[in-house]
Symmetry: C2
Subunit: 196 residues, 2 copies
DNA sequence: GTGAATTAATTGACGCGTCAATCAAGAAAC
DNA sequence: GTTTCTTGATTGACGCGTCAATTAATTCAC
């Protein structure tokens, strides 16, 4: 059979173009034609591979979430001790590859997409659950019963920082964003007579 | 002239319908016809009064922000002392009228709107600036130099709680949301040897 | 190895639905 | 009887998804 490796390549290009277009416009109101043009293919091909515009968006979400998940695993593997694990989870959220204009814009719009697309909702819910779970796990040894509450707080704060970054005109300030959340973390540690 | 008080009335109805439709669909992808139908008028009338769909959205934003602003002023007026003022600012964000499904959904979508509409961006920027300013003012006497950082953290946390609430299927939990933010506030207070 | 056969990759054109905005005209108020 | 209020009908643009057809790659018979 005539099986070249074109399909996975094209799929990846289209997914990449989708994220960039969402980043450029800041909206989900991008046409399949725009995405296809940026990917250097025809809109018909995009439909051929993904079937629908919604499916293209879902693929883009999966890509972003997968990248994030992979970095999380890497960071956790390298972290020694509960506190380091919690800090690693925070830092990953503001890593070079995740805390970028297009990715931030994509996240914001994925939240909107989740309002109408069950599949998008499911994906975001998985992300949230996993982050909460990871945080609780890391915090339990140092914060005990307060672990759950602090995990929820840190999770919401990370999302909030993303949201606010989406409004800024300037380039994302990874260091500042991470410092803000880490500062919050330290305040909670200090209070709970944390692990110092 | 035939100037009954119809115009302001219709405008208010249309604005209200806009917020409800955004809440129902969770998106800005609502048609003028849908909004008009819910307001009990024709789509032509909506255009007659507002001129464009964008203008309708802006009016809806102004409404939400104005309501929030009014409650903030009321709460600040009633609060005695720096700490009470800060707590009042937090509580207002989760008040009965602000922390509702439709309003939360509207906020989320206003953030998206701000990506493409300068006017929407301006309005959101004013909101953020004012909240930061109010918080810094209240915190300065008890936290000194740390006031700015804690204000930024609290602001982002509030936005993050809104964002996460937008994903939930259940009715908004005002008490829980306020408790989460207030809990973090206390942690910062305890750390900075705050005002007790 | 060459040519026919088979399958994948890719596209241009376009139908069909949708929607924002306009317009011309009727109803109501004063 | 003029002005505001209101609408149904219309339109022009646009975008998703489809389809028939073309091109490129790979296999296989010999």
């Amino acid at each position: 059979m005539a099986r070249s490796a074109a399909e996975p390549l094209r799929r990846a290009e289209i997914v990449q173009a989708t994220i960039q277009e969402i980043g450029r416009t800041g909206t989900l109101e991008v046409t399949v034609a725009q995405i296809a043009r940026r990917a250097g293919v025809s809109s018909a091909l995009a439909h051929h591979y993904f079937g629908s515009k919604e499916a293209i968006f879902v693929a883009a979400m999966r890509h972003v979430l997968a990248l994030y998940g992979a970095e999380v695993r890497g960071a956790l593997a390298a972290a020694e001790g509960p506190r380091a694990r919690a800090e690693a989870l925070i830092r990953v959220s503001f890593s070079q590859s995740n805390f970028r204009r297009e990715v931030i814009a994509a996240w914001l719009n994925f939240y909107v997409l989740a309002q109408t697309m069950p599949e998008a909702w499911r994906l975001l819910d998985i992300y949230r659950r996993r982050l909460d779970s990871n945080l609780r796990h890391a915090l339990r040894p140092i914060l005990g019963d307060r672990a759950a509450a602090v995990a929820a707080s840190l999770g919401a704060l990370i999302d909030g920082v993303y949201l606010r970054e989406a409004l800024k005109r300037t380039a994302p300030d990874r260091r500042g964003a991470a410092a803000l959340v880490l500062g919050h973390f330290e305040a909670e540690l200090a209070r709970g007579d944390g692990g110092r």
